[in-house]
Symmetry: C2
Subunit: 358 residues, 2 copies
């Protein structure tokens, strides 16, 4: 536990520096993945629409976990007992005075991860200052341990894809294929899916977020599968587009070739210092040369880590710059509503002089 | 579709009456289960921490679904095309002017289901009035179709419990037992679990929300299992406490008997007009007679429907009154940290003159 706690302490130290730059004395962390990143406490909020709790990181070096009795043991494994505050019953009548009693001065909060209801209740006791991406910015750069975890999650994804491809048979429904994938993920160690598996047969593959239905796989038809898992807390996300049967149509072969070429060109070019928009532009530019750019309807990729979708977005609007340690997806796709679509997705980590496919 | 849409229209009509009582011209519905209840659109928000969209119910009888292109088809299955507004890219720069253009007058919103971030963005365009439980109050009373769906979800829960009890063996870990249950739920028709399955062996059963771990089942030891599924969109939630092996300890038999008696006394007494606190008091009173009330550490039960935990709460603080059509859990339990715990949970529907166990 000591080593692990040290990682969280280091991350909180990095956050303290950011607080000081922003003129804040403390941050009330309510976004679950941020709270976990900084403390190791509960990656998810309760499934009963209740927060599992809040982390308070202060500039005096003493931090607090606030939670309810369900999580008391878990909290005390993450934080010294005297830094754990347990509330029950009327939450805000306990949390409010506790926060007020800490005399934190300027207390930041996370506006995207706090409901208006909670904010109204808390501001009876403390003054809250809106912040933006203070923790998310730290999470952009993955450390060696995070990269190894995501490498393992990717490896499991590959293993499931291999077994799943072998198991595809005409007549299976999209729902059945999705469940086969989920069962393998879980039985081979994943704690959960990273997101709902996408399975789209034929024209259904033209919807980038196709929900599996009762459409069946057909002989000599394509199927797009986009799936990911959570393993050791970190997410994977990969897409493949398979052909069921032996006789791949020429159109499928051509589209698949273009998509994979667009992907490879991006991976070959991506390096630190490139803007997110430039990375997008590589695949986009190739599709333009091929006169198919209008059928590439989404961003090239997104950050991934404790959450499936994290900053940055490799989109035409992306102004930031790729840096070593970022992990992003590279997932060009081409879609025709009456025919279907092909997407191919790798996860890459930015290295000192380029990138590596996980 | 017409019949189904009619149900949603009827529910929106009921909401319109409530809006008028509250002096509101419209409600911006952002809580996913409320949105689904009123429109049939997307029970869940996206797993990428993004809302799948908003429903606007207005007092002039014209309602709107606002969503992004991923859900365009789904939205148009729930609402006439001219009442679907699709945003993409900079969401609030599109949603804000659209809402403003509707000239809705007094527009209510749901403070527990709106982040401070979204609220700040929207109020640049429209004035928002906080509301409380406008839709939740309608959802308290289940109609015949909802009751049938929950009856089916309960039946599946029973079926899985029977098979799971037969499969319990010393040496299985809590995690394995939980996965066995989940696999059965999914393979027998559930779309997902209603909540993370609780499996607690021996002393672990003393934690009302035990997270399954690597503790193994032991010969002649108890195991508490609390699990539920979502079937046809509605949730089930049941708890059983089993004994692994033939020789039930006398303590287990006594505690189980007290818990089941407390449950039966509540079910026998519950009828319309009883307050939530009175219902709680029946089981509590019996435990007091037995001198074990201090080991009953939670409420007697909670409402359940589209969500696992809904109002009402059958707790000592509950001031409302049971009414026909409410569905609640009845789940007394007794817990000793050094020994374990026993909980037994049924779901009941309040009838005209009492209640029925589902």
């Amino acid at each position: 536990m000591t080593n692990t706690n040290t990682i969280y302490q280091q991350r909180r130290e990095a956050l303290r520096k950011r607080l000081s730059e922003k003129g804040l004395n403390a941050l009330l962390v309510s976004h679950a993945a941020n709270r976990y990143y900084l403390s190791g406490f509960e990656l998810h909020d309760s499934q009963c629409n209740e927060s599992a709790g809040w982390l308070v990181v202060t500039d005096n070096g003493t931090d607090y976990l606030l939670t309810d009795p369900r999580y008391e043991d878990a909290a005390k494994r993450c934080m010294p007992e005297e830094n754990v505050f347990i509330y029950s019953g009327k939450k805000f009548e306990q949390v409010g005075p506790f926060l007020k009693g800490l005399n934190l001065g300027s207390l930041g909060f996370e506006p995207k991860a706090m409901s208006l209801f909670d904010h109204e209740k808390l501001r009876d006791y403390v003054q809250l200052t809106a912040t933006e991406n203070l923790v998310e910015d730290l999470r952009l750069i993955k450390d060696a341990d995070e990269i190894e975890r995501m490498r393992a999650a990717c490896a499991l994804n590959h293993r499931v894809f291999r077994a799943l491809e072998d198991s595809l048979r005409p007549g299976q429904t999209e729902v059945e294929v999705a469940w086969n994938a989920e069962r393998m993920f879980r039985e081979w160690g994943a704690s959960e899916l990273a997101f709902s598996t996408i399975v789209g047969v034929g024209p259904n593959a033209a919807l980038p977020h196709a929900i599996p239905g009762n459409t069946t796989l057909k002989e000599n038809e394509l199927v797009l599968i986009d799936m990911g898992c959570r393993l050791n807390d970190y997410c994977s996300d990969q897409t493949r587009t398979f052909w069921v049967g032996e006789n791949r149509s020429e159109r499928f072969r051509n589209v698949r070739e273009m998509v994979r070429t667009a992907q490879q060109k991006a991976i070959d070019a991506i390096r630190p210092g490139m803007t997110f928009a430039e990375a997008y532009g590589i695949s986009r530019g190739y599709f333009e040369e091929q006169n198919v750019a209008e059928f590439f309807t989404h961003a090239l990729g997104h950050g991934i880590g404790l959450e499936t979708h994290e900053p940055p977005s490799l989109s035409p609007l992306g102004t930031g710059v790729l840096q070593p340690g970022m992990i992003v997806t590279v997932e060009p796709g081409l879609y025709w509503p009456d025919w279907g679509g092909v997407r191919w997705e790798h996860m890459i980590v930015i290295t000192e002089d380029g990138c590596e496919t996980l």
